[in-house]
Amino acid sequence: MTSVQSSRTDVAGIRRPAGMLDARTALLPYEGTLDTRFAAHLLRRAGFGGTPEMVRALVGAAAGNAVEQLVHFPETTAVAAPEDVFDPSTVYEEYGPRGLRALSDDQRRELQKDIRQSEVRSMASLRLWWLNRMLATPAPLQEKMTLFFHGHFTTAAIEKGVSPLMVYNQNQLMRQYALGNLRELTRGLSKDPAMLLYLDNATNVAEHPNENWARELMELFTLGVDRYTEDDVRESARAWTGWRVLRLTGAAYFEPRLHDDGTKAFLGRSGDFDGDDVVNIIFAQPQCARFFAAKLLGLFVYDNPEPELVDGVAALLEKNEYELAPTVSTILRSNVFYSDRAYRALVKSPVELVVGTYATLGVPQVDPSVLPALRSMGQVLFAPPNVAGWPGGENWLTSQMMIARQNFLAGLVNAQIMGASSWLGGVPMDPPDATHALIGALLQDDASPSSYARLKAYLAGDDTSALAMLNGENFQERIHGAAYLTMAMPAFQLE
């Protein structure tokens, strides 16, 4: 431990050397209770934030109790499923194989065009459905993890034959395992039709192995680059041969005749492995636990976590046999989670910015205009840029994307959107009180005195001759303008 002189008390009230991690205590439970900042921090990280009322409900709670509520979330099967997720196989069924063959080239083209249009429409409603689910769910942590898995085990629709229904089913699989077992989820995804098509495992046959899935499974999904050899990729690809997707129905199946049942040498072991064996062998590697530990820390705590911290979480994953609930619970109640270092240390992804803004304002439903806005901000759900997902972090910070982010916020100053807020209408009409209410609710007071003064002057109309004093007539417009200006401040971009 370094000298007392260089240590300081961080926002969690923990004395530790500035900029250094105390690995011994980092993952121990934070003993304090939650104040407004911590409560909002927890709601943002374990979900998408919440209204001032939801924040207040956690203030004074012990961190452990608050986390308990979030991790042991209620059953969410009652949440409405999306309507009409398009499934092209219903069209194929209508025609039947013989009917399809009987089509002329022109008719077939027409059919393909119709299917494509239905798919595009279906994807737009699916995106809105998910954003609304993130916003309205009683289990935000479940959606947060589903979003994380979507960026991690990526699949894009509608390309490579991945239909809207397939990608929705994959989304449900990820939701089912949100805080479940990572190994089981990986096994499930390996046989998921969308994944089989997206990474070409559906065309991986004994005679011509296709290594795409076998490679990404290790490189991007479980171990990280350079943690295996090219031979491991080849042998793994052999183990995965035989999985197919029936185009007409969209169902996955295993075709033993196309499977290579010979002996494979994989990651130091050998046997007549199949895909499940490959997953088990991968998850037995200590590197696999470290790989997911770093990802979970990057999701919940901060980017580029220290190796000691990664080792600590990796040990938790191994102890819990890759069960996520106890691991995530430990992270969310830990000292490091409430440390200065973790506070507002992540850049909001566009989806987090959009859903988080609606959640914080207490607007119950997202406006369809968020879809083009998210496209400009660089994040289209179910269409990650490539198999490596969204790079995130500072990659969200380009001037063009910032313009899109700020324009999204400015677009909320629209009576129909901000007027639907559960609490903006109740902000006091007194400019100093309104200033405190807005900066408190939207930024947890993370603004400087000069910004308070600016906003108060704007609300009072005493800084710009063009603005009248705050009064009953201009109240709504002025409060909405002030709420927007508050969200335009730098802290709002960070979570």
Binding site: D105, L220, D340, A345, N395, I403, P490, Q493
Partner: protein
Amino acid sequence: MKRARFLLGSLSGIAVVANADHVFARALAAAALPGLPGTENRCLVLVNLQGGNDGLNCVVPHGNSDYYRLRPTLAIPQSQVLAIDAQLGFNPLMTSFKGMYDKGLVAVVQGVGYPNPDHSHFRSTEIWQTAAPDRYEHTGWIGRYFDESDLPESNLFNGVSLAPILPEVMVGSKIDVPAIASEAAYGLRIDRNPMQRDEYTALIHDERLPFTSPYLPHVMEIEDRAQRGSEELPKLIGGYTTNASYPATPLGRSLALAAQIIGSNIGTRVIYVQHGSFDTHVNQVAVQNRLLGEFSDAAKAFYDDLAAHGNDTRVLTMTFSEFGRRIEENGSHGTDHGEGSPLFLIGGGVKGGLYGSTPDLSATNMGNVRFTTDFRSVYATVLERWLGRPSAPVLDGTFEQLAIL
């Protein structure tokens, strides 16, 4: 105007106090840029022919019987081809372009591609833009060129993407490149609201925040650049006038704006524009001919505009496309995803003519045109001979240069 004064270029260590005076920005932008002597004013314009441009109906092998045999409904009749020689010629809609070729302003590099070609649009696009066929790279080759070149980080427009979304090719780790779909679309909504504008400016520059975050300085710098960029661009390029008549197409509008940015001398080194989609799986001829005609006319108007302002010898335009298409036509009067295809380099500094091997339609790779020139050879040539920078650090290796420049 109540406007906060702030520090520019904090990352690069250059502390320059800026204000809204665009003369200052222009002076800073026009400061000498590193590179070979004589390359300071040079600009590269990238034209992405999105979707996979069919090379064989663009630069047509009209002397090759295999071409006519494998494309019974798609082949361009010999009589319509704008012949370069007895073997090759341009698509009939490319008359303006052929005129430029005849003046020695166009280099055609044939059979360009890369090893182990990927047939997915998104992956192959990424490979061309990152110049990294064998790994997943988040920076583009132009982004890495920016990073390597010590360009002034305070200049808002070292690179400009004339597209709604920043393409991966322009992504670097030091230089921020604005994506400008059109001059009208590039702007903060707040700029249209004078009641809140000054407050906004002050609040995004709040430097005494009661928390720390590794991303906070970056957020603030980008917010500042976003605001200044959208405010300054119209002032910086507003003085440019032109008599050039561009076709009223998206590409025509993009290239008109590119010429305006170049002619305004604001220190822009690379501009990205896109055209397409060339993904012609069905009824290819109608779609591709229209797109090639649009390209040809816009490229000619662009060159004429540049020439009228004396900028033709300092601008190099280069096309690329994620892949060519299958040699044999499919059952829908179209072609499926392929491999090697030609690309064009256009400008007063180009050594016009045909380069690379003409596709051998008999020695194919599963029905595809085999690549004979690695696209990284073209990039290396452009980096070394046009932009005056070493190519190895950008391309992660050394590639043979071509005699096109």
